[in-house]
Structure formats: C-alpha cells, structure tokens
C-alpha cells in the first residue's frame, strides 16, 4: 500500500510512453504532430479534472487518503500541459516566436489556452513542501487559481472546435459538476 502511494504516480506516464512509442514506430496516423498535440492536451485536461475530483471523493467516501493523490495528479496535469505547449512551440512553430506571437494575437483559443498555462505555472512551482510552509495561509489562496485555469482550459477546448461540440461540452459538464459540488458544499456548510 505504501509502495502504491510512493510510485503510483508513475502510471501517469503511460500515455507519454505510448506517445513516444507512437513517434518511434510511426503509428500516430497521417498527422502525428496534430496527434501529439491533441493527446497531450487531452491528458492535461483529464489530470486537471481528476485533481479537482479529489475533494468531492474525500467527502463522499469519508476517506482522507485521497488527499495524497492531489499533488501528483496536479503535477501530472502540469507535466502534460508543458508537453502540450512544447509540442505546439516546437513542432507547430519550430521556435518561431513571431509565429507564436501572431497566434496569441489572432487566435482566441491560443490566447485563452496560454493564459490557462500561465495560471498553472505558479501552482506547479509552489507545489513543494518548502513553498507550502513559506506561503502558509496564502498557499491555499494562491491555489484557488486552479478554478480560473480550469475554466480557461474548457474555453480553449470550445474555441478550438470546428463544429462538433460534443466532446468539449462533455468535459464542460464534468467540470460543471465538480465546481457545482463545491458551491453546494460551501453553501451547505457555510464555510465562507
């Protein structure tokens, strides 16, 4: 059990291994760059939703052990988001800052997605025990940034979609549920 807690997060790297093998063996389809960017983005979003599912799960099951998974899940989210942004910068633009800048100005889904990434950045940096200690009460307040970040990620997904909104709306629904539970929780227990 202890070992599972220690090394369990490694299973979060399975999608990465799958992608690396896919590049290696050229099994990512006709447009492997697009596949890399899509799949890394999908996983960043899924880890984000799982991170946000910890509190409701703890409440529903009454087991505080879920808490130990929050940091690894959040870091996996950031890791895949970083992979997503890197693939975009390198494979899509090949370090052309001019091209990236033009995208930021002209393509709203890029603007919104980039803002989401900027919000996740301080959360990843301050995820260590040392930063938690140093920030004290402010740590919790800083990490509320995950909520605007999650909303922006969904916005990014919706804005990049051409016509078939089923998948972005499905994810928006899941996020809505997770945020709705928090609203209910705050009201019911009069936390604020």
């Amino acid at each position: 059990m202890q070992r599972l807690q220690r090394y369990g997060w490694l299973s979060g790297l399975i999608p990465l291994v799958w992608l690396v093998l896919g590049v290696w063996q050229n099994t990512l389809g006709a447009n492997p760059v697009e596949r890399l960017i899509r799949v890394s983005g999908d996983w960043a979003l899924w880890w984000l939703l799982l991170t946000l599912a910890i509190s409701p799960l703890r409440h529903l099951t009454g087991w505080s052990g879920w808490n130990r998974w929050r940091r690894p899940l959040g870091l996996l989210c950031f890791f895949y988001a970083l992979l997503h942004v890197t693939c975009y910068g390198v494979l899509e633009h090949f370090f052309s800052w001019e091209g990236i800048w033009r995208d930021l100005l002209k393509r709203p889904y890029i603007t919104v997605g980039f803002c989401a990434f900027l919000l996740l950045l301080p959360l990843a940096i301050t995820s260590t025990r040392g930063w938690m200690r140093r920030l004290g009460n402010r740590w919790g307040r800083l990490h509320l940034l995950i909520y605007p970040a999650a909303l922006l990620v969904i916005g990014h997904y919706v804005l990049m979609t051409k016509a078939d909104y089923r998948m972005p709306l499905l994810h928006a629904g899941v996020l809505g549920g997770l945020l709705g539970w928090r609203v209910w929780y705050v009201i019911t227990y009069r936390i604020m």
């Binding site: 006709a30 447009n31 760059v33 090949f94 995208d103 889904y109 804005l159 016509a163 078939d164």
Partner: protein, 315 residues
C-alpha cells in the same frame, strides 16, 4: 433513359481482356470479404464493392513535381462530416455509403435539365489523371493524383442558359447511408457552389477516382468536385445534384460560420482565420510546416478570375 449500345465504340475504348479478368477476380474477392467490408476497415474492399473499375485513363494530363501523399494517408485522413467528425472516422464508416445505383439531377438554367444515371453522366467523358495540391482550411495539405474530367465538359453537354451565373452542388441526403446526417452539425445536405466562370475553368474537375482506382467512399465516391485553388471544403463529395442558378447559392460552411468560411474560399495566406494560421500548412508526411501559396500555387492560371476583387473582403 435505357442503355444503348454505342456503335461508334473505338478500339481504344474497349477494356482489354486482361483488365476485365483482373476486375472479375477483384470483384470475386471483394464478394468474399463483403462481410468484412461492412466494417469499412479495408478501403480497397469498400471501393470494389462499388463495382466496375475505371477503365482507360489518360495519364499525366496535369502533373506536379511534388511528392505524392500516400494512398493510405489520403484515404485514411479526411473530412467528411456525414461519415463522422473525426478525421479517421470517414474511413471507418465508409461502407455505409452505398454508391450504386447512383444518379445525378442536372437542373436550373440549363437547356436540357433532367436526371441521369452515373453511367450516362460519365459515358462521353474520357478520364484523365491530374495531380493536384489539396489544401484543407485546417492548414494541412496533400498531393493527390485524381482521376476525372473537366466539369466544363459536363456543363456544356447540358447547355447552360444565358441567365446562368453560378453552379450549385448537393451531396446525397440519406441518413442511413451517411449516418452523420442524423445530427445537425451542418444544415444537410451539404451544399457547395462556384461562380460559373470558376466552374468552367479547365482546372476544375469532377473526380471519380484517385491513385488510378475508383474513389474510396470516404473520399466522396462515386462523384466529387475538385477545385485545387480553393480550400478543400469547396470540393463537395458524393454529388447528386448540379444546378445552374442566377443567384449565388447557399453553401454549407459559409452558412454555418460566415465570418470564418467565405463563399469563394480561395486558398489565401493573407486572410487569417480564428483557428488556423493560413500562411502556413503541414503537408501530410512532412515534419515542418511549409508556406502556403496564394491560390494554392495555381495563381498563374486562376488569379485572372478575380481581377478587381478585394479578396480579403470576398474571402
């Protein structure tokens, strides 16, 4: 119209015996895998379900000194929302699109309106191989050897009237064969249109095949438009109606999002899109993106069609 034996059949129009036998063998093997083809996994099997091969094709009518996209990629990665909105969905779903029997309405401002079977429609037109660039509005591109014939030849046969100014096209409307039509992602049937001079341009073709074979269903069998200097969505698939009109026809993506997809939809690196950087494209099979050419590289032939127009406004 009943089938007529053609007494003017020339020797070169007769299918060689060896091809005939080979075709028979293919059809027999296709029948054997018929059940498998329902899954649509094997594009060749799905294609042969359609029946006859292409017969004689004039090779190299338009060539291109660029590497051709593999058949696997061109048939496996495409947009055909009626067969699913993912780019690999159409190949998987292809077998639901039954393409025989097939007929096409030709109506509107024409001297001889009416409905013709696919066989009658194709009969007078010698097939040509033309290698064209294909640039999708989603900023990816391919090089595809199409088999078809100039749309102008067909339109002339039906005698466009003096009032005809546009050509409107429609994809077959049949949610059983095109299950994507069960959801209203776009107003079905898919519609496209060209100005008459664009339709009569010698680069504009109707295609029935690619890579020397009958069109795979996911690529728009049995009859599709190919307009190489416009974004791919203009090249409507699985056509059942061609109408000559006096007014600019309503077109599907334009109606869905007029600020994003214009009626003209000429490939234009100068007109930005809220989702895709149109100044660059990823050629399928290549790693880094390449620059997109105005009119997809066909400017010398087609730029004159738009003399005096502001193509950043009429995009």
């Amino acid at each position: 119209m009943p089938f007529r034996w053609n007494p003017e059949l020339k020797p070169e129009e007769i299918t060689p015996e060896e091809w005939f036998k080979q075709r028979r063998r293919l059809m027999r093997s296709a029948a054997l895998v018929g059940a498998g083809a329902v899954l649509g996994v094997d594009p060749l099997a799905a294609m042969e379900k359609g029946g006859a091969g292409l017969g004689e094709v004039r090779p190299g009518v338009v060539t291109l000194n660029e590497k051709q996209t593999s058949f696997q990629d061109a048939s496996g990665y495409c947009n055909f929302y009626e067969l699913g909105s993912g780019k690999e969905d159409p190949a998987r779903q292809a077998a639901t699109l039954v393409t025989r029997p097939w007929s096409v309405w030709i109506d509107g401002e024409v001297g001889r309106p009416g409905r013709v079977t696919l066989e009658e429609l194709l009969k007078p037109h010698p097939l040509e191989e033309r290698v064209y660039r294909m640039r999708c509005v989603e900023a990816w591109s391919m090089v595809i050897p199409w088999v078809g014939f100039p749309l102008a030849e067909l339109l002339k046969r039906f005698e466009p009237g003096p009032k005809a100014r546009y050509v409107a096209f429609e994809t077959v409307l049949d949610p059983e064969r095109l299950p994507g039509q069960k959801r209203e992602l776009l107003p079905w049937p898919y519609r496209e249109g060209l100005r008459l001079d664009e339709a009569m341009h010698p680069l504009t073709i109707l295609a029935v095949g690619m890579y020397g074979r009958v069109l795979p269903n996911q690529n728009g069998a049995p009859l599709r438009l190919v307009v190489p200097w416009k974004y791919g969505f203009k090249s409507i698939k699985s056509i059942v109606r061609i109408s000559l009109t006096t007014e600019q026809p309503v077109t599907s993506w334009n109606a869905h999002a007029p600020s994003e997809y214009g009626f003209y939809a000429n490939v234009n690196p100068a007109v930005s899109h809220p989702r895709w950087d149109q100044s660059k494209e990823r050629r399928i099979g290549e790693f880094l993106r390449r620059d997109t050419l105005p009119f997809n590289g066909y400017g010398d032939q087609v730029a004159g069609l738009y003399a005096g127009m502001d193509l950043t406004r009429d995009f």
